[in-house]
Symmetry: C2
Subunit: 278 residues, 2 copies
């Protein structure tokens, strides 16, 4: 998918919502546990309920790997289901890998070929070598950690480079934006850092940003949109637990639709106000 195609989906659905599939057997409704593949069944119900409201889906690899081979099967089935039934949903493998050369090539093959995801999240610590192998795939994306939403983000990301005066998260964006372009590279920027979106838009005016941290972590959708939106929206805002675990009875999918719908409506207003739906 290109950035223009992604923007088209955003306009079509009046939404820039990404739903995170952090599917945890200890949190999903009891009645699903009896099915043969509870993780897949839960995911399918959530996707079916919300597919008209979201442009992206983000399975979090840790929640699948913890079940070993069975978990990989659940993940693979989930991706195949989305691909066949909702071909325009943008699938992000939230894997936060970060390795080099032949290893990075293997990861790219895993997530772009074997699994046919659209994008993978990557940790930039090892530099260009850990990003380039992913950029060889046409219409696929790397999403680099830049400024994360967690408490200890400042341990390294906020360190100021003595030589350039730029902070590490800015160095990551500035350097990596030369390795790829706004049609194959995005950045993770936490919603809890709304005041820094302005600085990020200076170095990456055209790139899409994947934004976790609204809801539970305290980030504000309005602030994110105010400081981070560009002329092609340029935002994918993620919500995981706030949507998928809003109810754990037989009505969980309906409840997920409700929660996603609230966010979609807020997004529609934001897009309208910005003149991006006309």
């Amino acid at each position: 998918m290109t950035s223009n195609q992604l923007f088209e989906q955003i306009r079509l659905k009046k939404s820039f919502l990404c739903i995170g599939l952090d599917t945890d057997l200890s949190k999903i409704p009891q009645h699903i546990l009896a099915s043969e593949d509870p993780i897949f069944e839960f995911n399918r119900a959530i996707i079916d309920a919300t597919a008209d409201l979201v442009v992206a889906v983000k399975p979090n690899l840790a929640f699948y790997e913890v079940h070993g081979a069975a978990g990989w099967n659940s993940l693979s089935k989930t991706v195949k289901y989305i691909r066949s039934k909702y071909p325009n949903l943008f699938i992000i493998a939230d894997a936060k890998r970060g390795d080099i050369t032949s290893t990075a090539k293997m990861y790219a093959r895993t997530f772009f070929q074997s699994l046919d995801c659209d994008a993978i999240t990557i940790s930039p610590y090892m530099g260009k070598d850990s990003v380039e192998p992913f950029l060889d795939y046409k219409n696929k994306w790397v999403i680099l950690l830049s400024l994360t939403s967690n408490q200890s983000f400042s341990d390294f990301q906020m360190i100021e480079n003595k030589a350039t005066g730029k902070r590490i998260f800015e160095e990551v964006i500035e350097k990596s934006s030369k390795w790829g372009n706004f049609d194959n590279t995005m950045y993770v920027v936490g919603a809890t850092r709304a005041e820094l979106f302005k600085d990020i838009r200076k170095v990456a005016p055209d790139h899409f940003l994947l934004v976790p941290g609204i809801g539970e972590q305290g980030g504000s959708l309005q602030d994110v949109a105010h400081f981070g939106m560009n002329s092609k929206c340029g935002l994918l805002v993620n919500s995981s637990r706030g949507i998928i675990y809003s109810d754990n009875t037989v009505k969980f999918a309906e409840s997920a639709w409700n929660k996603a719908s609230q966010l979609q409506q807020e997004m529609q207003q934001i897009l309208q106000k910005a003149g991006l739906l006309s």
Copy 2:
């Protein structure tokens, strides 16, 4: 395993060699491909041949994940085989994960409980939150990327902090050494950076270092030992392709033994010279 127990193994085997299991179906001997689980069969042969010469084994996750559920089964079988037959081998999941809170907890469960590895490699970009959940496991280890052996290491790792004058790889070591200690934390330091081992030993005199990059990448074992060894050895030096792909005929395991043996003998001399075997 504690650092003392690891040192005991090093003294016993007169070796600080780690063997990397980057098991690639396109590179292993043809005759193995006919077996039911070629990856496991190859690993088993390599481990059986070299177990008396190495203290650690490092499966590289990318090479298993690329085969999906089947790859996880091969990995799981490999770890179980080592655990049952060579209980004193230190098993490193070379996964380079780096995520936070509930996700990091899931990764810890995956690699320390489900798979029962001794250690996992972690990318430090997200800070303390991405390390702490692993430190809750007794006698298990995190191995943080610090100064890597690849070409683009300097993109971010060599940036100097304006406030402290320290480079990012030093910041990683200095900060994280306060989150854990030398009995649960190691650092990845590339053999190609021998001149910087002195600086690393200033901030981490007692920690074990996992050292890739000898052989093909040009790092020197003698330099690594000269600048990086401490009073309890403090080094695990990895070799992957140089050992496991030294021959791709039916004699591959014998050849792997030969290559590992050459390195072990060099290590024995180094340990002897340093007075660590007496």
